[in-house]
Amino acid sequence: MGGKVVTISSGKGGVGKTTATANLGISLASLGKKVVVIDADIGLRNLDVIMGLENRIVYDLVDIVEGRSKLRQAMIKHKKFDDLFLIPAAQTRDKMAVSPDDMVKLTNELREDFDYVLIDSPAGIERGFRNALEPADEVLIVTNPEVSAVRDADRIIGLIEAADKGPGKLIINRLKADMVKKGEMLSSEDVFDILGLTIIGIIPEDELVLSASNSGVPVTLNMQSKAGMAFNNVARRVIGEDVPFMNLDENLGIFQRLVGLLNGR
């Protein structure tokens, strides 16, 4: 069977699926893995810009499926990693242009040559999500520590389990450790209590993520970034390494830590 298909999903839009996919792709490639990332969000192509590959696109996913392009022709090689490729979404079509069976066929072909096929699922629970889910060996669910994102995550976790693709693992994105400390944000433990899924990543809120998407250089490539390090840790857990979770309090000031100490934490 060869490579593994990992789908990154969330239900709600805007929680960081595409950012997570791009960064996992880069991290896995930097760990020496052969990786393809597929943008399954047909009509709302975005993974290309996050990865800084937008100006190299000739063919797209729908071109492959409809036979206008050979698989290899449509795959865009990353600037920095020779073993990292992107299959972009079509921008002018809609999700019905691709079927779940198409995705299974495509990924089966890719499995032969690659260690990991990452699929960036569109938001929602309709066709695009089904396309991304059908070929998955493993599903990573991205959520934010926030009521609506967790609610939608719960909904798709149910759908993932119903499709026998469960249980899936959780990436909690954009956690603000200082707000959690003040009791003003759901903690990763809270999210775990509610969703009951294994957490494979906790990504701290980090302004460098926006800078990274501005410049098209995913944040894992920035050694200064805590979010980048956290994404890198997720990649290492994906390949089976046992990586402890980072201490997200480290970037708190000495004063806040003192307060924490006084509060018995």
């Binding site: 009521v147 967790v150 609610r151 909904r155 976790i157 389990e161 009791g183 003003e184 944000m185 509610i194």
Partner: protein
């Protein structure tokens, strides 16, 4: 900082994070069984309306709740205090979980005299009125059914 202040002033204000968790729990409970809160209340009222036809219930202490261990295991639990009918204290409410059959069984076993009295009731003593109102109604219903059955047989 707010934490320290609230400790100093002896206030233990619940953060919005805890509120978020409570609200999520509530919302997901209903999402997962696909029954909105209002419909759930309607169901509780209906369940209770049925039970009240047969038993005297301490309505203020009724608790019907949805318990959720995780996404795939939901359980509806009900604690419905039922009045035990004894000659001495006709309307004394006794703790008992919804298992109405259990409570009826215990009733029969513990109060032989009472059970006899009930038997008499159901046979033909129409005007014997020592039971509380609701129980009386229930019995009246039973008798009604009995008679109609008897009619059909004859």
């Amino acid at each position: 900082m707010t934490n320290l202040l609230s400790r100093l002033f002896g206030r233990s204000k619940k953060g919005s994070g805890a509120t978020a968790k409570d609200r999520l729990r509530f919302v997901l409970q209903h999402d997962r069984i696909n029954l909105p809160p209002e419909r759930m209340e309607e169901m509780k009222r209906e369940i209770l309306a049925v039970i009240v036809k047969y038993l005297v219930v301490d309505q203020d202490r009724v608790e019907i709740d949805l318990e959720q261990r995780d996404r795939t295991h939901s359980k509806l639990t009900a604690e419905i205090p039922v009045a035990i009918h004894t000659p001495a204290s006709a309307n004394k409410a006794v703790e008992s979980t919804v298992a109405a059959a259990d409570s009826a069984g215990a009733n029969g076993a513990n109060n032989g005299a009472n059970a006899d009295a009930e038997k008499d009731d159901t046979v033909d003593e129409v005007d014997k009125a020592e039971a509380p109102d609701a129980a009386e109604d229930a019995k009246a219903d039973k008798r009604g059914n009995g008679e109609s059955e008897a009619d059909r047989k004859s």
